[in-house]
């Protein structure tokens, strides 16, 4: 069997025995800076806007609903099952499909509607990143197939950066099959290094920070 | 002062650019040093080392140790040869503890010329004067292995009449690379022409470096292109009055 062959080659080359434990790895290196909530919001905004994304800050869930309604205009949308979006009353917006739990139906809707609305488990202030863990509440394709993505989350989920994320979630696999970090709109520069947005994923991204 | 220093002029300066060695001696003497020239010196072995002939390089390295072991300080007008001695001799003797110990003892006393001036002689102004617009070319080994960046610039800043320009892109190889220059002649030539373009963009009329081999490559390409830009070793600049 190739497994045994490969492992045997590895061990022979390294001078190790089967089942031999590894010495302790270098200590984990996570440095979490002290950053005030306001400074996090400012950084999130600046970083995402530098990537042609948008950040709107609103003070209440009701204001979030109004903001999303305005951004949507007359576009159609699909919204995820995240409880926070229900709290904001977003699932009752006109033109918005909600409560989808069937894979085929989800795919069909995501392929045809204009906007995907999700929440986010976290956001990373120092890179302008959204962090989404896949779950019954949060499907993968909503932030991926429609040409535009809107994420609505409370300011309290805004972390400083990667170090804080991996400190809060030392093993993302424990809770989900998929954790995706989204930093700005989909882009490519494969032809002549000219930047084009929205090549496979959404070309527009808007983050609504609440609170 | 009056400290004695040994000059390792390198085979290239000995055979091709003796004026670089003479200039270095003049600068050192001007600072009150008594430079000597151990006659048995030849080469550091780098040509063989970089071409993948370790045994041959080792033999030459042993000869170098024999010649310079008793020197108080060794000054070298080449970043590349200095790096060979201070960085690569140890690799050559990785399974030869006796010679490795000799290298460990000697290497800290081996100095690239500009570093010697700024760190041992502790001077920046050597009283030189040269009316020119000059670009400084960083030799790769001086820059990356010896981390020499500021020392020559500080020395050049004190040369009266000399206006210093930086090359863009900074720190890019001239394409010499020892036997690389003749094994991949066309590629090496293209790299040299890239360097020539950078020199022309800088508007300099003189190119200065710490490495005779870079100067040979760059001057060779300048000359082939029929350009009037000249090349000088830092020692030649600092010896100008």
């Amino acid at each position: 069997m190739s497994r045994e062959d490969v492992l045997h080659r590895v061990r022979t080359a390294l001078g190790r025995d089967a089942g031999q434990p590894a010495p302790a790895p270098p200590p984990v290196r996570l440095r979490i800076p002290e950053v005030s909530p306001e400074a996090r919001i400012a950084s999130m905004t600046a970083r995402l806007e530098a990537l042609a994304g948008r950040v709107c800050r609103v003070s209440t869930p009701a204001a979030a609903r109004a903001a999303v309604a305005e951004i949507l205009g007359d576009r159609t949308a699909i919204i995820s099952n995240a409880p926070y979006l229900k709290e904001c009353g977003l699932s009752t917006l006109p033109g918005v499909r909600s409560g989808i739990y069937d894979r085929d139906q989800l795919r069909a809707l995501c392929s045809t509607l204009d906007v995907g609305i999700t929440s986010a488990d976290y956001a990373l202030a120092d890179t302008g990143t959204l962090v989404l863990l896949s779950s019954p509440q949060e499907a993968r394709l909503i932030s991926l197939l429609p040409p535009a993505h809107i994420a609505v989350l409370p300011c309290s989920r805004l972390l400083t950066g990667l170090d804080e994320l991996f400190s809060s979630r030392p093993d993302p696999a424990a809770v989900s099959s998929s954790m995706v970090l989204i930093t700005g709109p989909s882009r490519t520069a494969d032809i002549e290094q000219i930047l084009v947005r929205g090549v496979h994923g959404p070309g527009q991204i808007t983050v609504i920070l609440v609170g | 002062m009056g400290q004695s220093v040994s000059m390792f002029v390198t085979c290239m300066v000995d055979q091709i650019f003796p004026q670089i060695g003479m200039s270095m001696a003049r600068v050192l003497e001007g600072l009150g040093f008594h430079p000597d020239f151990p006659e048995a010196q030849t080469c550091c072995g780098q040509p063989a080392f970089n071409s993948g002939y370790q045994d041959e390089a080792r033999a030459v390295a042993v000869h170098f140790l024999d010649v310079f072991e008793s020197s108080e300080a060794v000054v070298v007008p080449s970043g590349s040869c200095t790096a060979m001695i201070t960085h690569h001799f140890a690799e050559l003797f990785h399974d030869d503890p006796a010679n490795r110990a000799r290298v460990a003892a000697l290497a800290p006393r081996v100095w690239e010329f500009s570093k010697f001036l700024t760190e041992v002689a502790r001077v920046e102004d050597v009283g030189a004067r040269l009316e020119t617009v000059a670009a400084f070319h960083d030799g790769c080994h001086a820059l990356r292995e010896l981390a020499i960046h500021d020392a020559p610039r500080r020395l050049l800043a004190r040369v009266q009449g000399l206006q210093l320009r930086e090359l863009e892109p900074a720190g890019e190889c001239c394409g010499f690379g020892g036997t690389f220059s003749v094994k991949f002649d066309e590629l090496s030539g293209a790299m040299a022409r890239g360097k020539v373009d950078a020199i022309l963009r800088s508007g300099a009329d003189t190119v200065i470096s710490l490495d005779p081999s870079c100067l040979m490559q760059i001057q060779g390409a300048l000359s082939r292109a029929g350009l009037k830009v000249r090349t000088l070793h830092l020692a030649e600049v600092l010896a100008s009055r």
Partner: protein, 472 residues
């Protein structure tokens, strides 16, 4: 050195359009990288490099341990791990899985590892359709070319080239507007994603403690490849394993910065197993293929083992003065640039292209930018020695060996060295003291001829330094 290698170099140097394209693209990537590692934006950059180096060293030194741990973690999440010695075994695995599931269409996201084993060709040979979905890779697949650059695969193609390719292969109207070309690719590939049975990706990292694979990309095609089809297969080299998910905080900060000058790539996917109960979408099957394909040959030697630390950021290519002149296709295998120059001879054997380790001025720019601190020049030197040893055994290149032996002898005999030097000077004296443009035909051979083909030669001085010194 092979004729083909020399010819490729010559052709690339002679192509002014290509020279401009390579130089501009790599220059832009190089500048972008420099801006995001600057002290003012990432003060602990050097510490991160050191940590990345230590982590890679630790993972590779204990590779069997972490691979077994990884397998256990993947299986705990319902994924499956398959070990393969080479490309044939990978293709066999994919083909048999496709047959069992009745799969016909495969979407692929960019992966150097699958390029290495020509996976697309192998699958298509057996009647499967395997479509590259990264924009650059898609264009190259249509053009039947291999990637020009680890990170920017179609770096050598202009919008006019792309227009021709799309017209010829997709019968699309000729259009040289890059946005339109991208939109066309998006719509063609979107249909492929939605119809595909299997998605194949590589992996930037295999996380041993989580049993996750990590994919880093900008377009979203890797996300689609891993989310739309019912089966996901990740093909990864065994060297990609890292101990802990938390170590990603180090690697992710370095990877995008070094590759494209971004703080993070647009999408970083951390994927472990098939979709869990209740999750609405995601694949039903999750397979990881662990590929050797020559990697274990690099392990015995401590120094060379470093070659396996590579995280494929491409920074060494962008900064390399050789890559910036000869481009990606001059290199004899899929990996180009400095990292290609050390990986290729070790994976394929030194005889694959004996000239390759010598195609470097050893300037060290690659080692300076490498985020995991691989000492590429040192490995190149080691490979040069190995080529000489192989040649000596085969009785080849005896003249060069003799020349260096003579050199070493001469350098240990100062008198003989001095006489030889004077004789050489006399024989090449030009007379007027100017730089030498040409020499008599009799002398115009070997290295002298090679030098003079490009540059002038310094005139020999009337006296050597030691002669001048004696006269003082």
């Amino acid at each position: 050195m092979s004729r083909a290698f020399q010819q490729q170099i010559h052709n690339t140097l002679a192509d002014a359009r290509l020279q401009e394209a390579i130089y501009t693209a790599t220059g832009r990537l190089k500048d972008s990288r420099r801006a995001v590692i600057a002290d003012s934006v990432l003060p602990d950059y050097q510490e991160l490099r050191t940590q990345a180096n230590l982590l890679k060293q630790h993972a590779i030194d204990n590779l069997d341990y972490y691979l077994e741990q990884f397998q256990g973690s993947v299986e705990a999440h319902g994924g499956r791990v398959t070990w393969c010695k080479d490309g044939t075994e990978v293709a066999d695995f994919v083909l048999s899985l496709a047959k069992q599931r009745g799969a016909r269409l495969i979407v692929k996201s960019k992966s150097m590892t699958t390029e290495e084993i020509d996976l697309n060709e192998r699958l298509e040979h057996h009647g499967l359709e395997s479509v590259e979905t990264d924009l650059g890779e898609y264009i190259l697949q249509l053009a039947h070319e291999r990637p020009y650059h680890i990170v920017a695969p179609a770096l050598h193609k202009t919008r006019y080239d792309v227009a021709n390719i799309l017209t010829e292969r997709l019968h699309a109207p000729h259009d040289t507007i890059i946005e339109n070309q991208t939109a066309l690719a998006r719509s063609v590939l979107r249909q492929k994603f939605l119809a595909a049975d299997i998605g194949i990706t590589g992996a930037n990292f295999l996380v041993a403690d989580s049993g996750a694979i990590v994919l880093v990309e900008n377009e979203g095609n890797a996300r689609l490849t891993t989310s739309a089809p019912k089966i996901h297969i990740a093909v990864a080299g065994i060297e990609k394993v890292i101990p802990r998910a938390q170590d990603l905080a180090v690697f992710l900060k370095l990877l995008a910065r070094s590759a494209t000058g971004q703080l993070l790539s647009v999408y970083t996917s951390f994927l472990s197993g098939p979709r869990r109960p209740g999750e609405i979408d995601g694949p039903d099957e999750f397979h990881v293929v662990l590929l050797d394909n020559g990697r274990t040959r690099l392990l015995p030697n401590r120094e060379r083992r470093q070659s396996l630390y590579c995280i494929r950021c491409g920074a060494c290519l962008n900064t390399c003065p050789v890559y910036r002149k000869i481009g990606g296709h001059s290199f004899p295998w899929v990996y180009s640039g400095p990292i290609g120059a050390i990986i290729t001879p070790q994976f394929m054997g030194p005889a694959h292209e004996p000239g390759l380790p010598f195609a470097s001025s050893l300037c060290g720019a690659c080692a300076e930018v490498c985020p995991v601190k691989i000492d590429i020049p040192k490995i190149l030197l080691d490979l040069r020695s190995e080529v000489h040893k192989t040649e000596a055994q085969a009785g080849k290149n005896r003249l060069e060996k003799f020349v260096f032996r003579a050199f070493a002898w001469l350098m240990r005999h100062p008198r003989a060295y001095e006489i030889a030097g004077r004789l050489a000077a006399l024989s090449s004296s030009s007379g007027d003291g100017g730089w030498i443009r040409r020499v008599p035909a009799l002398l115009n051979v070997g290295p002298l001829r090679a030098w003079l083909s490009q540059r002038d030669l310094p005139p020999p001085p009337a006296r050597s330094f030691r002669q001048l010194w004696r006269r003082r």
